[in-house]
Amino acid sequence: MVFLTLSCWIRNRGPDRYWKVQEVLSNARHFRGRKNRCYSLAVRAVRRAFVYATKARKIKRRNMRTLWISRIAAASREHGMKYPALMHNLVKSSVEVNRRVLSDLAITEPKSFLSLAKLARAGQQEGFGAALGDGKEPPGVFSRIVTLQ
């Protein structure tokens, strides 16, 4: 007598569950707690980690830019200029050095940064001179700054 229906009752599951699980767990091995061992907890943690990584790649660019700006502002204040004045005058003098390189120059090449600050300062004074003109009031205008005569 041969029992043939026994073999029909055996379910043949997928052959590679182990590797699919390892694919997820290998990304979670450095996590803390049971998330680094148990698959159902690890799946959620790994998903969050990947989403945070994708978002952080965009935010990193913003953070780096603010860091460069604050460094350039500090360095320009050492030389008696402010950051908006420095950038505006560098743009007016058509010097197209970007903020990342400016912050690197401020750190490693202080003399070059000083020369750039002086260039911006000269442009600023020129702008002030052009705005102030002769220094005299136009005739027939009564202003608060009354000079003793």
Binding site: F50, T54, V95, E109, I145, T147
Partner: protein, 208 residues
């Protein structure tokens, strides 16, 4: 009469200071503090004053900072002096290590000799090819800097590099997930990378 009174007060103050000890000086000063600075200023300010003197108040000068005007002759002289110095430096070729700011692959790099640069895209050159990076924005050494507005000439600075490696980046995961909406995407991004080694930076000794 006012003068004699004030000088009398001064004498009294001076004798007080001489007679009393240091620790009693402070209450004496507080009583006379209002009068004494006026006395001193009046006594010293009588001697030398130009007729156009305006006492400094909140409205005595304009609220914007004073502008220092530089005449064009002075500027030209200054420019000539600077030019001479830089030309002598370049002619001697005594400068040590030069650095340059190069615009390459839509990014600016601050570069010296023997530097390695990683670029996240593809270039048509082969491995081992020698490349000249043309868009130089700034060249400098320890004693001088040449700032381009925006670029100094093509003949002024020369930056040469070699292509060392052409690889791909590590597989970055791009994942989006919206909770409680059954939405998630996963994509693996692999970007081509190129490693350049900067061989030389040269400055041509010709400036006007």
């Amino acid at each position: 009469m006012a003068l004699t009174l004030r000088s009398g007060y001064l004498e009294m103050l001076r004798t007080c200071w001489r007679l009393q000890a240091r620790h009693v000086k402070i209450p004496v000063l507080n009583q006379m503090g209002l009068l004494y600075p006026a006395i001193a200023r009046h006594q010293s300010s009588q001697s030398k004053l130009p007729s156009s003197y305006v006492p400094p108040t909140s409205l005595s000068r304009p609220p914007w900072p004073e502008v220092s005007y530089i005449s064009s002759d002075e500027e030209e002289r200054h420019h000539k002096v600077v030019l001479e110095n830089v030309n002598t430096l370049l002619a001697k070729e005594d400068y040590g290590r030069l650095f340059a700011v190069v615009h390459f692959a839509s990014r600016q790099w601050k570069v010296t000799n023997e530097d390695l640069i990683l670029i996240e895209n593809h270039i048509d050159a082969e491995c081992g090819d020698r490349i000249r990076l043309e868009k130089v924005l700034l060249v400098g050494g320890e004693e001088f800097t040449l700032i381009g507005r925006p670029l100094p000439g093509r003949d002024l600075a020369r930056v040469e590099a070699t292509v060392i490696e052409k690889t791909e980046s590590w597989p970055k995961v791009y994942m989006r997930f919206w909770k409680r909406h059954r939405y998630q995407k996963k994509r693996i991004i692999v970007q081509p990378q190129i490693v350049l080694r900067i061989n030389t930076i040269e400055v041509a000794p010709r400036l006007t």
